[in-house]
């Protein structure tokens, strides 16, 4: 028995456009059957990475394998991957059926087989009956499905999706998130998708790679990334958080900038400037002095309360910064009011130390 071969193996990939390094020495393995997200702000290199896997850009350096086969220098039409493009790039002069059949025609799949597979793919994305429509006669969501069918009909080893839901409105986007996930389970192939929307990445993917300025900052499951961000950028980019400046005192303890000692494990050498990430939902709000004994506590004044449906977001001004605290909303409870003196507290170990 050997280890299963990863669907995509990226080793030391770098891409430069002139003087600009778009992707900087990335190593990445994407497992067979994974729903994998490349996440980052615009310009972070995630789309370039996807395009290199597709073959639309050649890497400047490095190795790129698909199921163990080196493909880094192959043109896109020689790679066993297909792409769902941003804004879909459906061929406007062809109807739905011809769009879907395009890849098969190019591969010279014979007529009967082609028709069968096109019908199957169109059925898979629930577009039966729409075959003779032109792309401009379809809604955004329908176009998205055509783009999916057009790629999946070729049975790619890896499906690449570039901001697949970016062009849809919020409600449709949430529906499609679930649908895409279900589709991936059904066809069982590896999906690699690019997004700048951290919520989308957290909801949909098995694993996420966070990129920033061409570098890979962290790869992990949504939970790992959310709970144990590798550094300040990831902590800040994924979800909302309070970053409290601190200095490492020992492997078990850090000192906040107000001199308070807080128990938090870190691997940074003593004296390193770090930040403590306190998630709003892991912070608790108490009236001054009512915090549980033994919990780290910072005193402050409540500045603002925002009602966000299922929760209340409290903004608390402490000595040197403001801290956001999120508490579930219950109409029966009385909560502190703006101007009240309060304490922000958290369970020991409820914070994460993040370096730069």
């Amino acid at each position: 028995m050997t280890d299963p071969v990863p669907a995509v193996t990226i080793t030391g990939i770098t891409k430069r456009f002139g003087d600009v390094t778009a992707v900087d020495d990335i190593d990445l393995e994407i497992g067979d059957g994974e729903f994998f997200a490349l996440l980052g702000p615009s310009g972070c290199g995630k789309t370039t990475t996807l395009r290199m896997i597709a073959g639309l850009d050649f890497p400047t350096m490095g190795s790129l394998q698909i199921f163990g086969d080196e493909v880094g220098t192959l043109p896109p039409n020689k790679r066993p991957v297909n792409t769902v493009f941003q804004a879909y790039a459906l061929f406007p002069h062809m109807n739905v059926a011809d769009n879907v059949a395009f890849g098969l025609k190019m591969q010279k799949v014979e007529r009967a087989e082609r028709d069968r597979r096109v019908a199957e793919a169109v059925g898979l994305v629930q577009l039966g009956g729409m075959e003779s429509r032109r792309p401009n006669q379809l809604s955004g969501g329908q176009q998205q499905r055509v783009a999916l069918a057009r790629a999946l009909v070729n049975r790619p080893k890896v499906l690449l999706l570039d901001e697949p839901l970016g062009a849809l409105d919020l409600k449709l986007r949430q529906e499609m998130q679930l649908e895409l996930k279900a589709l991936q389970r059904e066809v069982g192939i590896t999906f690699v998708f690019v997004t700048h929307d951290q919520e989308e990445a957290l909801t949909m993917s098995d694993r996420i790679a966070v990129m920033h300025e061409g570098r890979l900052l962290q790869v992990g499951t949504p939970e790992e990334i959310y709970q144990r961000p590798a550094n300040r950028f990831v902590a800040d980019f994924i979800g909302r958080t309070n970053l409290l400046e601190a200095t490492v005192a020992s492997s078990e303890e850090v000192v906040l900038s107000n001199g308070m000692r807080v128990a938090a494990a870190s691997e940074h050498p003593t004296g390193t400037k770090v930040a403590v990430s306190l998630r709003p939902e892991q912070a608790f709000l108490y009236r001054r002095g009512a915090a549980p004994a033994g919990w780290p506590t910072i005193d402050g004044v409540l500045r603002e309360v925002t009602y966000v449906g299922n929760a209340l977001v409290h903004t608390v001004a402490v000595d040197w910064i403001t801290i956001e605290v999120r508490t579930p909303y219950r109409s029966t409870e009385t909560t502190p009011e703006v101007g009240d003196e309060v304490s922000v507290s958290w369970e020991p170990g409820g914070v994460t130390v993040v370096g730069d």
Binding site: P4, I13, P59, T60, M61, G62, D69, E70, G72, T73
Partner: protein, 302 residues
Amino acid sequence: MTLAEVPPEVTTAGAATPEFERAAAKAESRRGFLLAGPAYLYLLIFFAIPLGIVFAYSFANRNRFGEAVFTDAGFDAYRRLAAPIVRDILFRSLWLALLTTAICLVIGYPFSYYLTTRSSKVRNILLVFVMIPFWSNFLVRNYAWRVILGKDGVISRITDFLGLGELEILFTPSAVVLGLVYGFLPFMILPLYASIERIEMSLIEAGRDLYASGWQSFRRILFPLSRPGVIAGSILVFVPSLGAYVTPEILGGAKTTLLGSYIVTQFLTARNWPVGASLSFVLMAVMLVATIVYFRAGGRNL
């Protein structure tokens, strides 16, 4: 997984290297060059070289037989452009071109504004009817005036009937201007229309709201905002009017020689190639400058 199913050994042959990337970029560049090649070559041979020949001739001299020769080549031909006869022709051409431009602007501006006040359906039809003369045969459209303006033509009989006597403007500068306006009015209307159409009507309403009279709101709001269209339209009319050849030949008389005809004469009858060549270069320079102004004025977007 059995041993036989183990994927083939990874080969590094396909891994990307800077050399490969450079080679790919080079191949891409070569493809582009090959695509451009035929047209490039064609324009080099049949455009750039002829242009070079004209340029060379503009510095040539004439021998005793009037043939262009390259001994003692210099700026002689350019100096001769200052001669009274050439200067008169230059000024006359400039004057008629300016007059044509002004008339086109005065007629074209209200017309373009009128178009923008129509409903979109009507406007489309009206525009098509500007487009048709714009694209129909220029020579024939000039000739039509020859028929109308001629002796016993429709115009002179109307003026005669009105007791104004027979109007004889054929073969005069007036006829040339009339023909030029007729030919180039659409060039004024279309960019003007494009620039007036994109002005927010609410701006003019705001002006009226702020107590501007109709004239004031035109002068202070509408006209300044449509300036790119005015500039573009004026250049599009002025430049071809300046180099016009067909119109003055058909409608103008012997006394109204213009730049275009003069250049042609230098080659076909006077056989003074250096002067003709230098004059065509001057004309081209004017055209180039005007084109740059046109693009600066936003002509590309009009």
